[in-house]
Symmetry: C3
Subunit: 263 residues, 3 copies
């Protein structure tokens, strides 16, 4: 039947949830799931700020994040150059891009395996929390193929090139504390605490200024693309007279917590 991308609308806290699910296959990301991810994050980015969640947790069903592609689909397209190109460039790459283009803060709740396509999705999130037994990698050199350029470019924003060489050339899986040492995850907690820690961090983000978060994510994207243009630098300061800016400064002066309320 194939896997699915499940969506849970944000409640009062403003934290929504995306669940990768492909039972019995460690949530391998199949073609349908890549398409669902693309549509979902495009929709999220198109939402009015008031209607949008303030943070999105991306997780996997059944105690695993996600592991690679769906191998049963491989015979259908991997050995044909056109079809292979189409899969990586027109299915996977645009899905990852839709996550990167979404200015809502995203947290990866990483239980268990975070491999291949799962690793690529986690690398598009802003915050990565994993458990002691989590494993990271893309051991595709065992499968006789290299990583597609667009996917490797994405990983190179989260892993240093020195680490990617080790990961790909040795087909090496990294343990949680190795991932922390090389800066690829933000926190390692007990396996039982991954969900609660991620939720806590998401709620913390959701209580802060959504406007600040959106603009910060946009600026970081501009920097990654070579630095903001003069026009972008000028446009940046459009927030000057906004309600959130006034509330944040007022709360600080009044020595009270700010209230960045949803409309």
């Amino acid at each position: 039947m194939g896997g699915a991308v499940q969506w849970l609308e944000a409640g009062a806290s403003g934290v929504a949830r995306v669940t990768l699910s492909n039972p019995g296959k460690l949530n391998a990301i199949d073609i349908g799931m890549w398409r669902e991810l693309r549509a979902l994050f495009k929709r999220l980015q198109s939402l009015n700020a008031d209607a949008a969640p303030r943070a999105v947790i991306v997780c996997g069903a059944g105690g695993q994040f996600a592991s690679g592609g769906d191998i049963v689909e491989f015979a259908n397209f991997r050995f044909d150059e056109e079809a292979l190109h189409d899969f990586h460039e027109n299915t996977v790459a645009p899905a990852l891009q839709s996550l990167l283009d979404c200015d809502i803060p995203m947290l990866a709740q990483i239980d268990g395996a975070c491999i291949g396509g799962g690793l690529e999705i986690a690398a598009c999130c802003d915050i990565r929390v994993c458990g002691e037994s989590s494993r990271f990698g893309a051991p595709i050199a065992k499968l006789g193929f290299p990583m597609a350029p667009g996917e490797l470019e994405r990983l190179s924003k989260v892993f240093a090139a020195t680490v990617l060489r080790e990961m790909l050339l040795e087909a090496r899986l990294f343990h949680a504390h190795e991932a922390l040492r090389v800066g690829a995850v933000h926190a390692v907690v007990a396996d039982a605490d991954v969900a609660s820690t991620t939720l806590q961090r998401a709620e913390r983000i959701a209580a802060l200024s959504p406007q600040a978060a959106r603009i910060n994510k946009r600026t970081l994207r501009q920097i990654a693309a070579g630095g903001p243009t003069a026009t972008e630098r000028r446009a940046h300061f459009g927030y000057a007279d906004s309600a959130e800016h006034r509330e944040g400064i007022a709360a600080f002066i009044d020595k009270r917590p700010p209230r960045f309320q949803r409309a």
Copy 2:
């Protein structure tokens, strides 16, 4: 009254000192201080190599490095787009740039809080030494505003983008050992030893070839700007017949310490 940037001329060792001071405000950097910093480091860079200090320590008065902007000034300009743009692009950015354009080695002696504008100044130094109780961050999402593009670009030379996402989206303060783990500081020492350790490292630098330091800083700036041009690569080797180069090689061959004396 406002804060001040205090300057202590280099003595025999060649180590000068800049002290950020804004009593009762954790040395918050006000507009006057940003202007003083800009003028100071422009002057330092314009000095003849013989007259220039060989290393500059940047520190804060009263056991704190520096913490953010001066909130009492905020109401004057933050809610007006023109004035806000002018503050970030024409006051803060050129001050930071004057530090970056100065080829004298700079060390940040980080006692206590290193927040917001203070963090930005520290990020323009070459070496950062902090104490066990130091804290790093820019929790402006609580104040309802994002980081200005030029300032975020500067921080992204010292903090990985993955770390900046955590710092800004969560308004998170980093402890000293977290700052060390992510590579943002070079050493964490006991609070009581921050000043002496920084001075020791400054004196070590001051005893080495000032010419080598200046050219290395210039080359690193060229690399950060996309790599030295062909002309810059050619000009690099102008040091070939210099006294410092001859002294360094001679001392090595003679198995004695080099003497890179001031004129």
Copy 3:
């Protein structure tokens, strides 16, 4: 007489070995050795994939990796601008470039000192394994000279700019665990185990798909150069119908180890 670059052809495992040797000088890299390295790696890259080794270990003779340039040669060229430029840009830079342009996986087996030119060579390898007593640095500020632009650019792919400032401005040597903390080496092992650990990792790489390794190294080089062009992205997928790709996928489906045999 000068040093030499020794070459040991790959045996059945597919792992070849390059040994830097300059007895009594900690394997200092002299001009002849830079030229040999350039010729050697150009030859390796030109080999047909079937004839090429699957991994190359770079090591030093006599329990040291390599330490700087050969000081007795320095008086011949360092104080003449033309000759100095020629040495760095036409001797050292092309040698390092020939390592970078070679798509065979390379591992640095780092015993003891890894300094100056030795550090630059190690930085061109994909994997760096060192011993507890290994030391890393380029303390040339003691010798009165800066690092050449091309060499500093190379190091900046392996060491963060923050670390290079510390290394160069302080003429600081890094211990093995500091090198690990800053991500410059992939593993620190007991001194007695450096050779065996490096060999083990080389053999692991040699048993994986050579095609995947070559393409991954090429893509990482394209990313470092600003990202693959549209033509390069398209050409990437030429491996679709290859024997190694088919074998890797087939082995995975059959739940058996893949056999990427040499012709």
